[in-house]
């Protein structure tokens, strides 16, 4: 399989260099893979996810997407919109928008027509069993339902890469299992690459590769079978 994301000797510093989140990290993510990023708090998992998602620029090193350095990808907002889907721990749905609108908000600026986007979002809600909840506000949905809406939002623009930051962290075990089933299913059916940050070993076990970070670097023997 070809490399989708490649981090080469990436460093990330905060607070004028007093805090070092990533310390010369190198990592290769293959296309179509399901990678779990694990490690203790403060090891740099979320920073790495932010950098891969082009939400932050690394302090040093280089990051490439399909061999193209991030600096040459053009407008990063457009890159995120067309290539990446984000799933957050706290769902981060817009409280004033309905479930359907929360999905459609991602399509602003996309090439798809409003009609096509609406059709697609409605279809997604149907597939996720949320058709009856489409006009409900986030506050009227359960945690599991909110995360399913967030997953639909991440998928609406047909991304190549899903970045999930503790997607089950705010859910009960039943909802967490459902969400992980959903992510696995989507990844298998659509061939989307998934990078998931998790503290939960059961969630990490769903991935086909586990990358363990410590002190801003990848620990050796990151493959699942080596855990």
């Amino acid at each position: 399989m070809s490399s989708l994301v490649e981090a080469v000797n990436v460093g990330m510093e905060f607070d004028d260099g007093n805090v070092r989140a990533l310390n010369g990290l190198s990592l290769d993510i293959e296309e179509g893979g399901f990678v779990a990023l694990t490690g203790p708090s403060g090891c740099g998992k979320s920073s790495l996810l932010s950098i891969i998602g082009s939400l932050e620029v690394p302090s040093s090193g280089e990051l490439r997407y399909r061999q193209v350095p991030y600096g040459n990808l053009g407008e990063l907002a457009a890159f995120r919109r067309t290539h990446i889907g984000f799933i957050f721990q706290g769902f981060h749905l817009i409280p004033t928008l309905s479930a359907l609108e929360n999905i459609l908000v991602t399509t602003f600026g996309s090439a798809a027509s409003a009609r096509d986007s609406l059709h697609r979002a409605t279809e997604m809600l149907d597939n996720l069993g949320l058709n009856q909840r489409r006009n409900h506000l986030p506050a009227q949905l359960s945690g599991g339902e909110r995360q399913r809406v967030a997953i639909a939002r991440a998928l609406i623009n047909d991304p190549e890469l899903i970045l999930a930051d503790e997607p089950t962290g705010s859910l009960d075990s039943k909802s967490a299992d459902e969400v992980l089933d959903l992510i696995s299913d989507i990844r298998e059916k659509r061939g989307i690459t998934v990078i998931m940050v998790t503290h939960d070993s059961a969630a990490a076990a769903r991935a086909d590769r586990i990358v363990r970070l410590r002190d801003g670097q990848v620990e050796p023997a990151g493959a699942k079978e080596h855990l």
């Binding site: 932010s50 939400l55 932050e56 907002a77 981060h92 817009i94 609108e101 908000v105 602003f108 996309s110």
Partner: protein, 375 residues
């Protein structure tokens, strides 16, 4: 779903703040609309009154910039004016503002030369016209009749002189409808200003050109030191009260504009501060700087636009209410023109956008990762 419904939802999310912001902006806009329409109405009421009389030029004292020109002896200037080329008629006019009853507000009292062209545009609604110059009677405008509660046969008191009302007239000029009208001789006698007038109205002959009018004005300046011959428009524009009301309206517009922009600025800054994480989410989802700028500026514009609409309705109502107050009724009719209201709406919306520019830039310059970390 479109950007509009998203913006609408954001504003409805904090109804109290949205309502307070709209209310504050609308009060400023209402002040602008009411004051400006009254100021224009004041100017146009006098312009209409002068125009309705068919006067070509008005001779007045050069320093007469009060609401009503100060009086001067008419005889000498009149004699001299009649010797100038193209002058067909010179008619004296006396005007003052007086209380004519104990309970009613002051009204304009005009004295016009008997049988002069000044009377030609009036229509008799009831009663009769004066029959001779020295007949001690008064005509009353239809609005003044309603405001003062005086009808034909009633008496009015002018400077202690009791004068009987013999007719009610109607004019195309509101100022005249709200006035009492006497012959010039009677008005001078009642106010003890015998032989004096406020202005002299000149009617030129039919063959007079614009150049003749200019020559005449120069001749008046040369041969009647201290006097000037001006058009009715110039007379109104030089009026101190008109100038003051326009200046006040301009100052109110400036202050209301600044306050409105600051209100929008404050509201949007608070809103951005509270929604930092949400903006981070939008950026993570692929919204670029321009989209965030557009979102915040459009919210600001919508707030200010709504404030503008409410302010226009409020201001129009205030202007109409003021014009119906007894003190003002029959003297000023506010001018509320559609182009002006559209301009006010555009003005308030533009101010809203300006007030939203800094908060919008602040939001658009947020780092998505930092915004997402915000609690």
């Amino acid at each position: 779903m479109n950007l509009g419904s998203f913006i609408y939802g954001n504003l409805l999310r904090r109804p109290a703040r949205t309502l307070l912001t709209i209310s504050a902006i609308s009060l400023g806009i209402a002040a602008v609309v009411s004051l400006t329409s009254i100021s224009w109405g004041f100017e146009q009421s006098w312009q209409k009154a002068n125009d309705a009389r068919g006067t070509d030029l008005i001779v007045t004292r050069m320093a007469s910039e009060n609401t009503l020109p100060s009086t001067f002896p008419a005889e000498e200037p009149r004699r001299l004016l009649l010797t100038l080329p193209h002058v067909r008629e010179v008619v004296g006019l006396f005007s003052t503002l007086l209380s004519v009853s104990d309970t009613a507000p002051p009204v304009f009292v005009f004295g016009w030369e008997f049988h002069s062209y000044l009377w030609d545009h009036l229509k008799l609604a009831e009663g009769r016209w004066p029959e001779r110059d020295n007949e001690p009677v008064a005509m009353i405008g239809s609005t003044a009749s309603a405001v003062l509660g005086k009808k034909v046969g009633d008496e009015v008191s002018i400077e202690g002189h009791r004068i009987r009302v013999i007719g009610i007239f109607e004019s195309s000029a509101m100022v005249e409808n709200g006035a009492l009208l006497l012959t010039l001789t009677q008005a001078q006698a009642a106010t003890e200003k015998s032989g004096k007038v406020s202005v002299l109205n000149i009617k030129l002959d039919a063959g007079a050109t614009e150049a003749d009018s200019v020559s005449l004005r120069n001749a008046v300046r040369e041969k009647l030191p201290g006097f000037s011959a001006i058009t009715s428009g110039e007379l109104v524009r030089s009026n101190a009260i008109v100038a003051l009301s326009k200046a006040m309206s301009g100052a109110t517009t400036l202050i209301a504009g600044l306050v409105s922009a600051l209100i929008v600025f404050n509201t949007m800054l608070m809103s951005i501060s509270e929604r930092t994480k949400e903006i981070g989410v939008l950026m993570a989802l692929g919204w670029n700087r321009q989209a965030i700028l557009k979102l915040v500026c459009a919210e600001s514009a919508l707030l200010a636009g709504a404030g503008g609409i409410v302010g226009i309705l409020l201001g129009t109502g205030m202007a109409r209410f003021i014009s119906r107050m007894d003190l003002v009724r029959g003297k000023i009719e506010p001018i509320i023109s559609l182009p002006f209201l559209v301009l006010v709406l555009v003005f308030s919306t533009v101010l809203g956008v300006l007030g939203g520019v800094y908060p919008a830039r602040k939001a658009a310059n947020l780092s998505p990762a930092q915004a997402l970390r915000q609690e």
